[in-house]
Each structure stands twice: as C-alpha cells, then as structure tokens.
C-alpha cells in the first residue's frame, strides 16, 4: 500500500513541478505578483510536507530550504531577483531528478543539491544578520521506543477550561475520557459556576473538574492530554504521591490538609474550624467557606489514595503463582491417598482402644487429613478454558475444509476440573465437535433455504452442578432424524423392526458400535467408530453422556463428569466378608429384598419398587462370592443413563470417601471392577464399574432373547 502512495506522490509531485516552473517563469516577468509567490510557496510546501510522509526524506530536507526562503519572500522580507528565480529553477530540476531516482540526469548544470542548498542559505543569510535563525522546524520527532519506564505516581489535576472552549470544537469530556484511559482515575465535576437557567449561554462551558489520577505513564503523558487546550484553560497539575514512598504507608492525608494544600481553604480558617470538633466538611460548607463540590473532590482524593496504596501493598507480596511439574503433584496426591488410608486405620484403632487421649489425637489427625486432601486435590484443578480455546481453531479449520460457516461460542471457561479429567476429555470432545461441524451444521445454502442465518453456531459450555461438572455442546444444525436412526438401526440389525423405543433410546442408538448415519464417509467423521468410543471414554471418566435433539433446530449433547478422578464418594457394601464400593453419584436409593420377593418374581431378577419394575443384578453371583445370601438382602438402586437398575448385596455399610487405587497390570482387564481402595482396617474394597456391569447384563439378556 505504501508503494501505491509513493507512486501517487511521485506523479503528483511531477505535476506540481511543471506548474512550479511556469509559475517561476511568470514570476520572472511580474516579480511583485503576490498570487504567484504564494503559488510557488505552496508548491514547495506540498512537495516538502508530503515528501517526508512518503519517505522521500532527501526531497523534504532539500525543499525545506527553498520553502523557508519563499516564506520570507511572501512576507516581503526578501525581494524576487533574477538570481533567486535561477536558483529555484535549478532546484526544481534537482528535485525532479531526486523524484526519478535517476542518477544520470542529476545536477543539470553541474550544481549539486548541497551547492544549491548553500546558495539558498546564502540568500537567507543576508537577512539572518537581522533575524536570528529559527530552530529547524523539521526536527525528526523522537521515537518513543526507548523511553525509561515511569514510576507510578498519583497526580492531582484541576482542569478549568475557558468558557469559550466549545467554540474551538473541543469537547472537554473527551479529554476527561483520555485521562481515564491512563490509569486509576476519579473525577469530580464542579458545577457551582453554572448560572441560573435564564442566564445560561448554551455555548459556554461553566463546569470545571478535579481529577485524581494514578498512572505509570509519566507526567508528560498526562500533560499531553491537554496539549490542544493548554492556553484555553486553567490547568493545575501536581504529583501528590509516589507509590514508592516508603513511609507513605499509613498516614493518609486529612481532609483539611488536602483542602489547604490545594489552596481551596486558608490555614487559619482550618485551625479555627478544627477547634469546633465536628465533621470538618459539614462545618466548612455550613459556614460558606467552601462549596460542597470542593469538599467532595477532596474526599474522593483521600479515598483514591487509600485504595491505591492498599493495592500497592498487596502487589508487593511475592509472586502469586509458581510452576511445578505435574508429576510432583501426582506424587503428592498419591501420598495424600496413603495418608487418608492410614488415618482411617488410626481412627478405627482409636475407637477400638477406647482411650480418650488417643481418640482426640485421631480426631485431630482426621480433620487435618481431610483438609490436606481437599487442598491437594484442588491444586490439580485446572480451568477448562484452555481446552475450549483449542477447539476454536479446530472448528475454523474444519468448517473451511467443508465449506461451511460456523462460529464457536464458549461459556464457563473458568470452570475447574481435575487435570487428569481434562486431559482425557480432549479427544471425546474433539469427536463430538467434529460431528457437530460435519453432520450437525448444514451448508450455508441449505441453512438460508431453511430460514436460518448462513453461519451456524456451536455453543460449548461448562458449569458446576454439585460434585459434577456439566459440559454441553449445542449446535443449531439440522438435528437428529429419529426415522433415519430407526431405519438404520433395523438395517444394521441392532433392533427388530417392531421394537418400540422411547425418544431417548432412539438417540442412544448413536452410541452403538458400528452405527453411522452419514450419507457418505468424509475424512472428518462418519466412519461409525466415533460415538461408541466417546461413550466408553465417558464411562472411564465415570461420567455420563446424553443426547437430545429436535429435527431442524439442532442437537444438544450433555456430558456429566465427576470433579476429580482421584477420589470417589462411594457407598460401601458387603457381600459375605468382602467389601465393594459403588459410586455414590449414581446411587438413588436402597431397598430391602426378601426371599419372598425373590420367589414372587419367578427368577426374573426384577423387583417392584413403588410400582416400578426395576431389574437387578446379583453382585454375589456376578463376582462369584461363595456362601449363602442372608434372608434379607439389600438392593442398591442406581440411575444410569435414565434407566434404573439395582445391585443386590448382603449389607449396606455406609458412605465412604475413597481414594482410588489402580488395580495394577495383572488385573487390568478384569471386567466390572474399576479400581480398589483400602479401608480403615487395611482390607481392600473393590470399586464396582457400574456402567460396565449394566452393559454386560444387557448384552447377555439380548443374547437370550
């Protein structure tokens, strides 16, 4: 773009030079023609001024000399002589050759630019004996690059513009706004000079302002704000506080001191008033010594300094955060896990010993351990925002690839989740978003045809809900077509053609392995290996995933995740002498199961709970625990993806907060167990993988059918 401008400059300057030449020749004949002199001056002026803007510094510098001379000619200080005209014509030729950047035709009559320049200077010199030379108007402006950093300072400004300030097109509010942009700023307007409405001249400014500004840009920057109005206003500016003042700490200035310092109040008056012991401000105003506005301004100043100093104090504290390698945190979490286990044993032992001293120590340890555990786990919490941020790029690239217009909006980036959860969440989320981009959002043409804006929106949000984090991915695309889903499911043999499914069940079909409804497989998604993987990933994270959709208006995917993977709030249950833990988050209720009930259901493993038929799984059978069940068993009813399924155990012991331990390599592939935990007495309790067990049961059931 600059080159275009340079070229434009060259062209225009050439035209100007032609015009200059003819003006000069005319001037030779009529040396007193003011109009002609003006024209020559203007031509030089323009060549100089614009030349510098487009990088022709040599031309600008050279022309400056000639312009200076012609300025004086214009003022009648230097006469138009043949010598001058000749010199100017030569100068014109030199400028032309500078413009053409052609060394060949330089200096037509053997005159170099500096030679001509000197000749002009000589011309001026004749005159300069009388008038001292002016400082070069053409000094380069200093570059602000290497300015030293300024100290943070608070200054007090009283800005009282002349009444006529509006007549120059100045809006004082703009100046105040500019001050505001320079730092912490308080402004008090004084309006006591505003006359009664009949006498007001709406073209006058009657207001003046007191400003307290804390800035680190230096006093010159503050002065620069008023650069255009400095002679049109009464401006008082003084620095009243440096933040680095070591002893400035506590002693705030009193109201009276501020008023005296600002010259709003005499010291004797202050002394007199102070002896009366009332609120100073009230008294002063009451006595008419001072206007309420001035008291207010002083009070604002007091308050401003106080807050600034407090801020400075907190700022001086050591760095707010430190970086630590993630492994160190993992080790810490593990150690805390061990500690929690040992502490549980201590508590249990203490209660057995029935020793008051030991019991009180155990209680203390328990309290501390709990706090330590919560704090440690908190350290690993990270805001989900960084993950969200990455998706912006993903959506942008994908939508470009597919020729769609899609905007990704996010919400709740500050929601915190355990680092490990966030890490494992990335891939499933990428998959879901790819699906939205590929299948959800239609092409711009289709959207417009359906009365939608051409650009689709994918909204990603995260929020807390109890001990869970809920992540929602919503798009305003075409939504899921239930009919298509059903047909596909029947086609692929997932369901019978006469199966009645609820809306939720239909949508859940998507999560079946090998299910894909995309018309064609693109390289973005649609191979049918997606959603089941997503679902499995969610299960590993002990989370749930749900889909709801309305055809034509969009799809909403809701993911519910536990805050942390390291700890699970569990329900401790027992079968014979073995302990198991069920995640409390999915437990809905516990009911009894008597032998009689079992008989009534004719071996069909379902129980009537308040009129609802709830299928159950016998954990004793599932895990092949030896022994005979008691006469009254317990069903722990869990809610999973909207279904209610019970787990039959011997005994429900109670709530148990568990630090999860992995089962080690050997037991990696054990189905139905997701981990283990150590109880207070040292026994191991296995954590039941509820979703896995349910899936397994459903599959077995289907095989029988």
């Amino acid at each position: 773009m600059i080159d275009v401008h340079r070229e434009a400059y060259r062209e225009e300057a050439r035209e100007l030079l032609v015009e200059l030449e003819s003006s000069l020749l005319d001037l030779e004949e009529r040396p007193d023609d003011k109009e002609l002199i003006g024209r020559v001056f203007r031509a030089m002026h323009t060549i100089k001024g614009s030349g510098a803007m487009f990088g022709f510094d040599d031309i600008a510098g050279f022309t400056h000399q000639i312009e200076t001379v012609y300025d004086r000619v214009r003022q009648g200080e230097i006469p138009v002589t043949k010598e001058l005209i000749n010199l100017t014509l030569t100068a014109k030729d030199i400028i032309k050759s500078m413009l053409d950047e052609d060394p060949q035709c330089e200096a037509p009559e053997g005159l170099t630019p500096s030679g001509v320049e000197d000749a002009f200077k000589r011309l001026v010199a004749k005159d300069e004996a009388v008038n001292p030379p002016k400082s070069p108007a053409f000094a380069a402006q200093p570059e602000g690059a290497s300015l030293p950093p300024f100290q943070t300072a608070t200054c007090r400004i009283r800005f009282a513009p002349q009444r006529e300030i509006f007549l120059n097109g100045t809006n004082p509010i703009m100046l105040l706004n500019e001050l505001r942009s320079q730092g912490e700023c308080e402004i008090v307007a004084h309006t006591e000079l505003v006359p009664p409405i009949k006498e007001i001249n709406p073209e006058y400014c009657y207001t003046y302002w007191d400003v307290i500004l804390t800035t680190d840009r230096g006093i010159d920057a503050v002065k620069d704000v008023f650069i255009f109005v400095e002679d049109q206003c009464d401006l008082k500016m003084e620095i009243i506080d440096y933040q680095s003042d070591e002893d400035a700490g506590e002693n705030h200035k009193r109201l009276g001191e501020i008023l005296v310092e600002k010259g709003d109040l005499g010291r004797e008056d202050l002394q007199k008033i102070l002896s009366e012991k009332k609120y100073l401000g009230e008294i002063l105003v009451g006595k008419g010594l001072i206007t309420p506005g001035k008291v207010e301004a002083a009070l604002v100043e007091q308050e401003h300094l106080r807050t600034i100093r407090e801020k400075a104090k907190t700022k001086d504290e050591p760095a707010a955060s430190i970086r630590v390698p993630a492994e160190k945190l993992d080790i810490l979490v593990n150690l805390v896990g061990e500690l929690v286990t040992v502490q549980a044993r201590l508590s249990q032992t203490a209660s057995l010993l029935q020793n008051v001293d030991v019991a009180s120590i155990a209680e203390e340890v328990e309290r501390l351990t709990e706090e330590l555990r919560d704090n440690t786990l908190n350290i690993r919490m990270l805001p989900i925002g960084t993950t969200f941020g990455r998706f912006k790029r993903l959506v942008r690239d994908l939508s470009q690839e597919l020729g769609k217009e899609i905007e990704l909006t996010t919400e709740g980036e500050e929601t915190e989740l355990d680092k490990t959860v966030i890490e494992q969440l990335n891939d499933p989320l990428v998959h879901l978003i790819r699906n939205c981009v590929d299948h959800g959002i239609e092409s711009p043409e289709t959207r417009v045809a359906n009365n939608k804006p051409p650009a689709g929106i994918i909204h990603l949000s995260a929020s807390h809900s109890g001990a869970h984090v809920v992540i929602r991915i919503r798009d305003d695309g075409k939504g899921l077509d239930k009919e298509v889903l059903l047909t596909k499911a029947v086609e692929k043999g997932f369901i019978h053609s006469n199966t009645e499914l609820t809306e939720k069940e239909i949508f859940n079909l998507i999560f079946l392995p090998g299910f894909s409804t995309a018309q064609s497989v693109t390289n973005v998604s649609g191979r049918g290996v997606g959603m089941d993987v997503v679902k499995r990933a969610m299960a590993t994270l002990r989370g749930t995933i749900e889909i709801s959709s309305e055809k034509g208006t969009g799809t909403l995917v809701t993911i519910k995740l536990p805050l942390t993977l390291a700890i699970v709030e569990g329900l401790l249950v027992a079968i014979s002498n073995q302990y198991f833990v069920l995640p409390l988050s999915i437990v809905e209720e516990c009911v009894e199961l008597t032998e009689e009930d079992t008989k009534k259901s004719h071996g069909r493993n379902t129980a009537h709970i308040r009129g609802e038929l709830v299928p159950y799984i016998r954990l004793r059978k599932e895990f092949a625990v030896p022994g005979k069940p008691p006469a009254i068993e317990q069903i722990v009813v869990t809610g999973h993806n909207g279904d209610r399924i019970g787990f039959v155990v011997d005994n429900v012991i109670g709530e148990h907060q568990t630090v999860i331990k992995n089962l080690g390599r050997l037991y990696k592939d054990v189905e139905g167990i997701s981990g283990a935990t150590i109880l207070g007495d040292g026994t191991v309790a296995l954590i039941v993988d509820v979703p896995k067990l349910i899936d397994k049961a459903i599959q077995t059931e289907e095989r029988y059918n």
Partner: protein, 121 residues
C-alpha cells in the same frame, strides 16, 4: 453509526493516505481538495470532524476554519490542522481561528489515529 470525517488537502497523496488510515480504523471519510470544495461539500454532507491542510489554493486551512466557525451549523465541529511547521506563532494563528488541534507533518498513521481519537473520542 460510524463517525464521518472530512479530509481536506490539495495534494491527493495525503488525502488518500489519510482516507485509507481512517477507513481502516472504521471511520467514514469524505474528501475535499481545498477549503472551498470543503465548504460546498459540507452543505450536503454532515461530518463529525474535519482534518485539513493549512496551505491550499482557493481557500486555505485558516480561511476554512474561520468560515466554519462563523457558521452556526459547523461551529462546534472539531477541526484538526495538518501543518509542516511546529512554530508556536503558527499554532497561535490556527488556535485563534478556531482550530481544535493540530498534527505536524510528517506523521505516521498511528499518530493520525491518536489525534483523531483524542478529539473525537
């Protein structure tokens, strides 16, 4: 609505540079080639601000400012004068005519924008 600024300069290069800078910053721009042209365009176009050169044929910058300030309709429009001189006497003259602010040539696009924002907010 975008603020509209009029740039007045007899030199098209400057006019274009000012226009391009302002348009890029989101302002609407009207160009005029000298003071007289500016006044005639002001009659039909409402502007929020004027940036004018000082030395121009027909009607120069000072003349334009004086004419504008004498007219009720343009009395309070902010006007920035582009000058090559940083002499105080010239500033005084501008100021006296009713100029709101000034900018010395040569200037960079950022300097122009800073000045515009200072006056126009």
């Amino acid at each position: 609505m975008n603020k509209r600024i009029m740039t007045v300069d007899d030199f098209a290069g400057i006019r274009h540079m000012v226009s391009a800078t302002l348009q890029e910053a989101g302002y609407e721009v009207v160009e005029a080639k000298d003071g007289r042209d500016a006044l005639s365009k002001l009659e039909s176009t409402q502007v929020d601000m004027v940036i004018t050169d000082l030395n121009m044929p027909n009607l120069d910058g000072i003349g334009l400012v004086e004419d504008m300030r004498a007219n009720m309709a343009y009395k309070f429009i902010p006007i920035i004068m582009l000058t090559t001189e940083s002499r105080d006497s010239q500033k005084q003259k501008c100021k006296f005519a009713g100029v709101t602010g000034w900018l010395s040539k040569p200037f960079k696009p950022e300097q122009l924008l800073t000045t515009v924002r200072k006056v126009l907010g």
